[in-house]
């Protein structure tokens, strides 16, 4: 009952000064709108940039690295066990690049509940022959389906069909840059020389464009069988196993686990691409900082307008108090005014922020390096709207609290006598 009375008084004060309150609400609307739009746009951009690398990178990659054996014979010698041994001219050991017993490793990986999927791969350095010129590059033998599912391979094939790798024998998809250098068009045959000196003709069935120019200049893709044929290996030959986990944060721990369990080298995405995470978090922090600053500014707007309103309404406050309204009631009236400005302004801000995001989402954004992106990236995340709503509520509460307290302290005697 009392609450209804307070709301009706607050409502009357609000509507008596509709323009002022509208200005205050527009301030909140604008800041919330920008806050939401900024966050949506920024995190859309983050997703895009992260996607450039993260989408195509395995969370954990199993492979055999060519490196010197950490256990040199001297260290195993009983006589020098406690000595500090200096060994010079250590050579890397000739290790097979093949992952040994990969079929059983893949089988046990598929049973791991943390693993979302795996994709086997063969990487092989090759030369592309264009007349007399040899261009260094590398061929990735891939499982097209797994690659498409886990690493969005299909998104980056700009011309041709990825499935042709499987359906057309001895086929290859060239990186766009590489294809331009080779002047190879779809349907052409390119000559490939392996490191063993074998020459092999492969038919071009598509172009691949990752967005990273250097990458596209050297990479090409073939099916696993083609790659095995090319290298003259058996059909169990695999050099890499790429693993995607359900939770990317488990990658470092899992990498260590797999390394020990399978006796191979394992590299996790966090170690390999640490700089991307830093970039993302810095961008996120900046957009939050700007958004919060906007909100604080609009909070000052509310504070000012409420203060003015209180000076204007001194008499009304005094009369309310004289006729039996307690300081607390007066404070509630002004808090209600502040919060209704905040809530209405905030809601409108969320709405217009959504519209603005939709608008930005329509703006064409074509860049040669990002074939899958046609418009500016926007991420629609309800969390941003929630944060915006909570922030608008908190800032208006804080901005309203001081003036409302001041109103509650008004001494009616001073006002009523002073006239």
């Amino acid at each position: 009952m009392n609450i209804r009375l307070i709301i009706s008084i607050a409502g009357s004060l609000l509507f008596a000064r509709l323009k002022q309150t509208a200005v205050a609400a527009i301030g909140v609307t604008f800041s919330i709108m920008m806050f939401v739009t900024l966050l949506s746009f920024m995190s859309g951009l983050n997703d895009l940039l992260d996607g450039l690398i993260l989408n195509r990178t395995a969370h954990v990659r199993l492979y055999n690295e060519i490196k010197p054996n950490p256990e040199q014979p001297l260290n195993l010698s009983e006589a020098y066990k406690n000595a500090h041994n200096f060994i010079r001219s250590v050579k890397s050991s000739n290790k097979r690049k093949e992952i040994y017993d990969n079929a059983s490793i893949m089988k046990s990986l598929l049973h791991d509940p943390n693993v979302r999927g795996i994709a086997p791969r063969i990487t092989a350095p090759v030369f592309f022959n264009d007349g007399a010129i040899e261009i260094t590059g590398s061929i990735n033998g891939i499982d097209v389906e797994a690659e498409g599912k886990l690493f969005f391979f299909n998104d980056y094939v700009t011309d041709g069909h990825p499935t042709d790798l499987k359906n057309v024998s001895n086929s290859i998809i060239l990186g766009k840059g590489l294809a331009q250098t080779l002047l190879a068009e779809i349907g052409d045959v390119v000559q490939v020389t392996t490191s063993e000196g074998e020459r092999f003709p492969l038919k071009v069935v598509g172009y691949f464009q990752s967005g990273l120019l250097d990458y596209d200049k050297v990479q090409s893709f073939a099916s696993i069988t083609t790659a095995q044929k090319l290298l003259g290996k058996s059909n169990s030959y695999i050099t890499d196993i790429q693993i995607k986990l359900h939770d990317i944060n488990l990658a470092p721990a899992k990498a260590i686990e797999y390394e020990q369990r399978f006796g191979v080298d394992a590299e996790d995405i966090k170690t390999a691409n640490a700089q991307f995470e830093t970039g993302s978090s810095v961008r996120t922090i900046i957009s939050y900082a700007v958004g919060v600053t906007l909100l604080i500014v609009s909070g000052f707007g509310i504070y000012n307008i409420l203060n003015m309103m209180i000076y204007e309404k001194m008499e009304s406050i005094a009369i309310l108090k004289a006729t039996g309204f307690a300081g607390k009631d007066v404070q509630r009236v002004f808090m209600f005014i502040a919060l209704s400005i905040g809530v209405v302004g905030g809601m409108l801000g969320l709405f217009f922020g959504f519209l603005l995001s939709l608008g930005i989402d329509q703006i064409p954004f074509n860049t040669a390096s990002l074939p899958t992106i046609k418009t500016f990236p926007i991420r629609y995340n309800p969390v941003f709207y929630g944060i915006g709503a909570i922030f608008s509520f908190i800032t208006t509460f804080l901005a309203g609290y001081l003036p409302a307290r001041k109103a509650s302290m008004v001494d009616p005697v001073v006002i009523l006598r002073g006239k």
Partner: protein, 226 residues
């Protein structure tokens, strides 16, 4: 007729700024139910200060104040607001209506605050009061659109809405012309005669005080005659 509504015992007040000035010195008196009391005195003699103390709005004083035989000293702000709401009706020199509301809502506000009756009942009571004062035709006008004399009558209706023990007025006719002053006085004496309403009016209008049943005269912070 001898129920004491309001009692002041040895009330003293001084202002410290800029030098200590004692404005009220040892004020003691009683008001019984149904009395129509006016307080007169020259400007600056402390009569308004006294009224604001008696109305519980000014809480900084020495001495005891009893309203309805209850001690008011040292009570919380919320409790005093409740006392003002329930037991005291105010009429000020400058009508002091809330311009954001219409006449009816202005009258209803203290009643709604009291919360004893439903909004509908309060509205009925308010209409009754307005009718009693002959201004029910104004009930849906905004407070800013009516004349000074009408405003003062609306203020009286508002003072009456909670059927207070006492009506206090601070120069209620001070800002009105002679005709309207007379109307206001008529209303007050009618309230006293018909409803046995207790009134305490501060004024320096000697015409007005001359017609009251009891006059308290003040000078230099003391009561010199009552």
């Amino acid at each position: 007729m001898n129920d004491t509504i309001l009692e002041a015992r040895n009330i003293q007040k001084s202002f410290d700024d800029p030098v200590k000035v004692q404005v009220l010195k040892d004020i003691s008196f009683k008001i019984d139910k149904g009395e129509f009391v006016s307080v007169i005195g020259k400007s600056g003699c402390g009569k308004s200060t006294l009224l604001y103390i008696l109305s519980t709005m000014d809480t900084i004083y020495d001495g005891d104040l009893l309203i309805d035989n209850q001690l008011m000293n040292g009570r919380k702000e919320v409790e005093l607001a409740r006392v003002r709401n329930e037991k005291i009706g105010f009429v000020f020199q400058f009508h002091y209506l809330l311009n954001e509301f219409n006449v009816l809502k202005n009258v209803m506000l203290p009643g709604l605050k009291l919360g004893k009756f439903s909004a509908k009942e309060v509205e009925e009571h308010a209409m009754e009061q307005l009718k009693k004062l002959g201004i029910d035709h104004l009930s849906h006008k905004m407070a800013g659109q009516i004349s000074g004399g009408e405003k003062q009558r609306v203020a009286i209706a508002r003072a009456l809405i909670n059927q207070p023990l006492i009506i206090m007025g601070d120069e209620p006719t001070g800002n009105l012309d002679k005709r309207n002053s007379e109307i206001v006085f008529e209303i007050f004496s009618q309230l006293k005669e018909e409803f046995n309403q207790t009134l305490l009016i501060v004024t320096h209008d000697l015409d007005f005080s001359g017609k009251c049943s009891r006059v308290i005269e003040m000078e230099d912070g003391r009561i010199i005659r009552q």
